[in-house]
């Protein structure tokens, strides 16, 4: 049992998608979700495909907008409610407190990999030199060869883009990390590098929520499992 207080608390969370092109068809996805995560914990979301694991993760990041319920995040030593939050509140939480690794990198035209990775740290006020040094360190740890650093990642392989994405999300030392299949397109060696980085971040006190289809990865990083049931299924 952990003795740390949670930094992320979710209760009675409901999310459905209303598709207007289908005559207003409502697809319920999350029903009364509740969970909490403390520093040093890694909560793995498990459940069948289509159960809403990604929807839950995206809702936690404020990317999807739940209809009701509560997502509270410890931010600047106070609790902030993200459901229905003003954009600038969510943005500030993302800038300082919560990082997200999506499955795919959203490429920015003409910006090199090193600067893509360094950007979140620069936005937090670090000098570009310090941020680039740290970015280089992370890219090195993730096995991205130095000759690729100045190049825009648009032409990189899927696995390389994925690692650039991970480096970008780890550079700012967010207290809360959300990981959506961070090792999906990686080979074994690179998968192990990512596992090692995530585990180190967890041991340093990050609170992590993730989706890991690879059971070996899940076993290596998760401290707890959270079942996400198919909508309509009995608990």
């Amino acid at each position: 049992m952990t003795t740390m207080l949670p930094v992320l608390r979710v209760s009675a969370l409901n999310k459905s998608f209303v598709v207007h092109a289908q005559g207003g068809l409502a697809l319920p996805v999350l029903r009364d979700v509740a969970l909490s995560v403390a520093p040093g914990e890694c909560l793995a979301l498990v459940g069948p495909s289509g159960a809403g694991k990604s929807t839950l993760l995206r809702s936690l990041y404020g990317n999807y907008r739940p209809q009701s319920g509560s997502i509270q995040v410890r931010h600047h030593d106070r609790w902030v409610e993200l459901v229905g939050a003003e954009p600038r509140i969510t943005l500030d939480v993302r800038r300082r407190t919560m990082g997200f690794v999506s499955q795919f990198l959203r490429v920015i035209p003409r910006v090199g990999a090193l600067d893509v990775v360094a950007e979140p740290m620069v936005r937090l006020g670090a000098s570009p030199e310090d941020a680039r040094r740290r970015a280089g360190l992370l890219l090195g740890l993730l096995g991205i060869p130095e000759r690729l650093w100045p190049l825009p990642p648009a032409t990189f392989s899927g696995g390389e883009q994925q690692r650039v994405n991970i480096a970008r999300s780890l550079i700012a030392d967010y207290p809360i990390l959300l990981l959506d299949e961070p090792t999906a397109s990686l080979d074994t060696a690179n998968r192990d590098r990512v596992v090692e980085l995530v585990r180190r971040r967890r041991e340093a006190g990050a609170a992590i929520v993730g989706i890991f289809h690879d059971v070996a990865v899940r076993d290596a990083v998760a401290t707890r499992l959270h079942d996400v049931a198919l909508p309509g299924a009995q608990p």
Binding site: R58, G62, R88, T90, L91, P109, V111
Partner: protein, 257 residues
């Protein structure tokens, strides 16, 4: 961060019997880039012109937190004071660079003119700042003394941006800044704008019909249809989890590459 930079309340504008924008209200906070998206005729540009003091609304108010004068009601100011505000604290990037530039004078003079408007007098330092900005928007220095009539469309647009940003405005209005440019030219301009927004912590209101441009440059979006704001939120929320039927249709209409 304690007060909005720009606030609109119930802004409505009619043209004859037609309502171009209807009861629009929002707050823009310092450092935010707000995108206004929607199809042609949805009222985006009318709203932008009302916000920027170029077109008086029939109803509603627009207030701005001025560095020089505190909170002002933009449309209650005298014409002279509104022009002063636009010259000293704001920028306006037109879709057509010819409307935002003086085509008959050199690029250097286009940039220098804005500096002189805010009180710069030393020729050497004006020319130096103009050169710095030309480099920043990636225009060769040997084009400093050329007129914008000799520039390509993409270069003109970059020059217009330099002319607007050289005076370090607190708020920039942009009307389709990448409209009508080739895709590669557009990418370069977007990258440039994105860097400048970050570096100078610009606050901006950007009108575009291109959701890709909105994704790249804005923090927040307002979606307009028939003069009304039908949806607003963080840019990624609106594009990834659109709620309104019209927004869902817009997002579904993006061509995949």
């Amino acid at each position: 961060m304690n007060a909005p930079l720009l606030s609109a309340r119930g802004v409505t504008r009619r043209f004859g019997g037609r309502i171009a924008c209807r009861e629009v209200s929002f707050d823009l906070w310092p450092g935010e880039v707000l995108g206004i998206v929607g199809e042609s005729g949805s009222g985006k540009t009318t709203l932008l012109n009302c916000l920027a003091g170029r077109l008086a609304p029939d109803e509603g108010t627009i207030t701005y937190d001025s560095a020089a004068a505190g909170t002002v009601d933009v449309h209650a100011l005298s014409e002279a004071r509104r022009r002063l505000l636009a010259r000293t604290e704001w920028g306006f990037v037109n879709q057509d660079a010819r409307e935002g530039l003086r085509m008959g004078v050199s690029a250097g003079a286009n940039i220098g003119e804005r500096l002189m408007a805010i009180g710069a007098r030393h020729y050497g330092s004006i020319r130096q700042t103009a050169s710095d900005w030309l480099a920043r928007v990636e225009i060769d220095l040997d084009r400093l003394d050329d007129r914008p009539t000799t520039y390509s469309g993409g270069m003109r647009q970059r020059l217009q941006i330099a002319r607007n940003l050289v005076s370090e405005p607190r708020l920039v209005f942009m009307d389709e800044p990448t409209g009508g440019l080739d895709v590669s030219v557009q990418a370069r301009l977007l990258d440039l704008l994105r860097g400048l927004v970050d570096r100078f912590h610009l606050s901006a209101v950007l009108v575009t019909h291109d959701l890709g441009v909105a994704r790249l440059l804005t923090h927040r979006l307002m979606v307009m249809q028939g003069g009304r704001v039908v949806e607003h939120g963080l840019t990624d929320q609106v594009l990834d989890d659109p709620q309104h039927a019209y927004t869902q249709m817009l997002v579904a209409s993006i061509l995949p590459v």
